[in-house]
Symmetry: C2
Subunit: 575 residues, 2 copies
């Protein structure tokens, strides 16, 4: 590609609404252009990256035996009503009426559409397993679109759907996709991690998220550096940090802690470790009758944080909400800040985190403003609690597999594999005939990759103060040739054209910057755009038969003889 036949449009400054580095750099590099809130044009430079991402995905999906098709963007509401998602999904589901007043949605995902296809197309067990995928435009009407391609409204997703005869088959199809995803992210050249995720009602290890590692990531990933344990924060199991409960030694004592409503402040006032304090979180479970409403008290160690997903899995708490201040006053007789499990005004259900359950002689609120109890002990001062894993793990926690301690890093979710089971086939009556001619529900899995989101995530992981640093496999161009004074020097022009043609013939995705920009502006553009390999051709070097090579991460140029440059670059690309 010659730059003059392409469209390059770089900006010195990012627009004011670009908050994060990937958004800023993609705007500055002319890869995307805003059309509306959360809606972007993919400019020529950006589309090249998208196509490379798509092609890697396509190759690996095909290799894994998945079959590409294409489902529509606009889908009839009837299908979404069959599965109940028409009602369950909130305003992020974009709804539209046609000229006859019939309801449609702009697809955010295609479980319903594919299930509609297979319920007529798949008749016999002989046609199973099968896995269909498509790479298609999606729409999700985010309340507050932001971060460029990271949280846009219109985006491109690859979504695949597997169908199997039974749960064993589903698990096998799932593993095939898990392995394909691993290859896909490896080929992207990105640091990534697959983590076990919560999969709601299905249970088991039926869901994994694939994250691109980045300090700016929204999600906390939990992993064990000395084993293969990895889970997202919602799913990572927290073991008790005290393995057995010490004996009760201190006496329960009501202690004045005026104005100290937080565990940290109480610990400082009393000169005790924060790990000796217990914090109280009050939840409400509503009932049909107001008088059947339950109030629950969850207890966490002072330095720990509540995990809301785990909380919802405690029997009885599936539909919990946080209590209002009025409810707290009604049940505890005091305002938040001094709450505790002892001497509540009305009875509450107490659940202690695993660690709290093993604590002794601890400090908790006294249900009286400006007072805490010290020396509290289970069994003696209050009944033994219900115990559950309620908290987020923290760095240094023991790994649930017993093979080390946990570490935490930040990630950006770009892929998700999920064992759906019969969630959709049941509602939509998608069955096949088994060997005995009996209809059976199809076992379904779904597998998504956020194609356009990959671009943002890759940049969040790979940038410096000059711009983007693309991995070669998804760079808009692999190599840029920057001739200096091509219009003045016949030698530069001749060598440039020669090398350009040689690279094209070698199948290298090369762009020749023939725009005639000054070297400074030219180099700045390509550093911003993030092409990984740059060759500079100038009269000074040519006199000695030399060219310059600069890798995007290199601090200095490498001088390479003219005749060796092609092989030199090929070696870099193969590395």
């Amino acid at each position: 590609m010659r730059a003059t036949r392409f469209f390059i449009s770089t900006l010195k400054e990012a627009p004011a609404d670009a908050e994060i580095v990937s958004h800023k750099l993609m705007m500055r590099a002319g890869m995307i252009k805003r059309l509306g809130s959360g809606i972007y044009n993919y400019m020529p430079m950006g589309l090249r990256i998208i196509r490379k991402v798509e092609n890697i995905i396509r190759e690996e999906m095909n290799r894994a035996g998945a079959i590409e098709m294409l489902m529509p963007v606009v889908q009839p509401a009837e299908l979404w009503q069959e599965t109940g998602r028409w009602d369950k999904m909130g305003p992020e589901l974009m709804r539209v009426k046609d000229r006859h007043g019939r309801d449609f949605i702009i697809q955010p995902t295609s479980e319903e559409a594919i299930t509609d296809v297979v319920r007529t197309e798949i008749r016999s067990y002989r046609q199973l397993p099968v896995n269909f995928y498509h790479i298609q435009t999606k729409f999700r009407d985010e309340r507050r679109p932001r971060f460029g391609l990271m949280r846009g409204r219109e985006f491109t997703m690859k979504d695949a759907y597997s169908f199997d005869r039974n749960v064993d088959g589903l698990k096998q199809s799932y593993q095939v996709m898990y392995d394909a995803y691993t290859r896909i992210f490896q080929r992207f050249g990105l640091q990534f991690r697959a983590v076990a995720a919560d999969n709601g009602a299905i249970g088991g290890s039926g869901s994994h998220e694939f994250h691109v590692i980045a300090e700016t990531g929204e999600d906390a990933l939990v992993y064990c550096p000395t084993s293969d344990y990895a889970a997202n924060m919602e799913a990572a199991e927290a073991l008790p940090l005290v393995t057995s409960r010490p004996a009760a030694q201190a006496t329960l004592t009501k202690t004045a802690t005026p104005g100290k409503a937080k565990c940290e402040d109480v610990a400082a006032l009393l000169s005790i470790p924060l790990q000796n304090t217990v914090k109280s979180i009050v939840l409400t479970v509503d009932a049909d009758k107001e008088e059947d409403k339950q109030v629950w008290l969850l207890l966490l160690r002072g330095d720990h944080e509540l995990n809301e997903v785990k909380t919802s899995k405690v029997p009885g708490l599936a539909t919990y909400r946080f209590a209002t201040e009025a409810e707290i006053v009604e049940w505890f007789g005091t305002k938040p800040g001094y709450l505790g499990p002892i001497n509540t005004l009305k009875p509450v259900k107490v659940v202690a985190d695993r660690t709290v359950a093993n604590m002794a002689n601890f400090v908790c609120g006294a249900n009286e403003a400006d007072f805490h109890f010290t020396g509290a002990n289970w069994g003696r001062d209050l009944p033994e609690p219900v115990v559950a894993d309620l908290r987020n793990v923290v760095d240094g926690d023991p790994s649930p597999d017993g093979k080390g301690v946990l570490a935490i890093q930040r990630g950006i979710e770009v892929g998700h594999v999920f064992q759906l089971g019969t969630r959709y086939s049941e509602d939509m009556k998608a069955t096949f005939l088994d060997e005995n001619g009996k209809p059976q529900l199809l076992q379904m899995g779904c597998y998504g990759i956020g194609v356009t989101r990959i671009l943002g995530a890759a940049i969040e992981q790979n940038f410096d103060d000059k711009g983007i640093i693309w991995p070669t496999s998804i760079a808009p161009f692999e190599v840029v040739i920057c001739p200096m004074g091509m219009d003045r020097s016949e030698a530069v022009k001749a060598e440039t054209e020669k090398l350009y043609q040689a690279m094209l013939e070698a199948g290298i995705d090369v762009i020749l910057d023939d725009r005639g920009e000054r070297p400074g502006a030219m180099f700045a553009d390509w550093e911003l755009i993030g092409v990984p390999h740059r060759i500079v051709i100038g009269d000074r070097g040519l006199k000695d038969g030399k060219l310059e090579y600069v890798g995007r991460r290199d601090a200095e140029a490498t001088i390479v003889p003219v005749a060796e440059m092609l092989a030199f670059v090929q070696a870099k690309l193969a590395a």
Copy 2:
């Protein structure tokens, strides 16, 4: 590709709602599957064809210097309000509100979006000319979707937009696209014709349609077999069929023609050629005040048909409508069937078609039920008329270029190139700075190809009673290998695998039918699907070292030695 790793789903019968052959065959061949009215899943077999069509388009667009990008499916209404199309376009424009109640459209085309891009991206004449294109999902809310991909609601279109400094530049960009389209349709392997089209307000020869020739086509294409004249019916100029007016000979005579309201019946009754009769068409042009309303009388030769587009170009008739019966009675004093230009009750404006203007001694209605005038003559019996080209050309008419006579064939419109001029850049203030630093409006062209429609059109042109006959370049597979008894015969299996591998290595897009179907069912499937080249491998032939080749249009198989089959097929593919 192995058939067992692909998804093949054929039907013996097409669903009842499939009216035309391409729709029936695509449904039967498992290429598309209905999701909703005018909304289709592109099944794996269909998607392969779409991708081949897209790739040919992409290659030729790139070769012509156009630059690929991707504009969103969902676009803000504000842009469409700027150009007035938000109001002007009817219910076929799919409108949608987001969660905040803001208006959006699902794009049927992208003039507004691209003009929004260029009005900020294109600053200087140095950046011109430029041509952006995308291949994207479109939506048009057809009132009555039908004919499968021929008139669907959701479809894929390639639309390109060129921007130039001036009209000369636009004409040049237009020609480049015209030439690219010619190459594209040649590469599709389809019989096609580019015809001049009416381009409304712009005038000149600024618009051409590309049609795939098919007897079932909706459009009539006019061309001159002995010259390069070609136009669609709306745009084809009709010359007078009588070059000069004969002398008046007959006397104007009111003749009884009881019950003969049609020219054909009058001619039969009077034993005169239909070509001696004149038919009357009454139009109304409304005005702000009822009393300023005009009634026009258009005169055509009895065997000719009105061309409504030409009619609207007659000065004064831009906003015409057909007159109501009440208006006809009020102006002519009689009901339709016996109307004419002589003795109208109230004054009407008379326009005669070019042929009628040169007629003498003709027959026309007498404005009295059951009576016609015979022997009518211009200048003598009624004033000389305004003359215009009002009619559709017919087969055998003189070609407007004077180089022969016109013929008419049917076509399916699949592409359109259009010189828009400043239609959009004016409304959206899309300017560039010229050499003198003065802002100038961008001159714009637009160029569309209906990607998914191509599939339907190709089939309408190429099918037989067994199924589809794809041109090789857009066939889902170039070659199918059909082994007979692969599971029983080691020899068949070995030769099949060998040939399959050899073909893959030769870069042939081959599918190996390893499903184990009986030969009859297997052949029927591939004839229905329309793969152009089939190789049959069986024990009987192998004994003599022979295989069978059958071209999709061949009546009989060709016997080819095993060792020569690859070269034989390669020669067929190169043909």
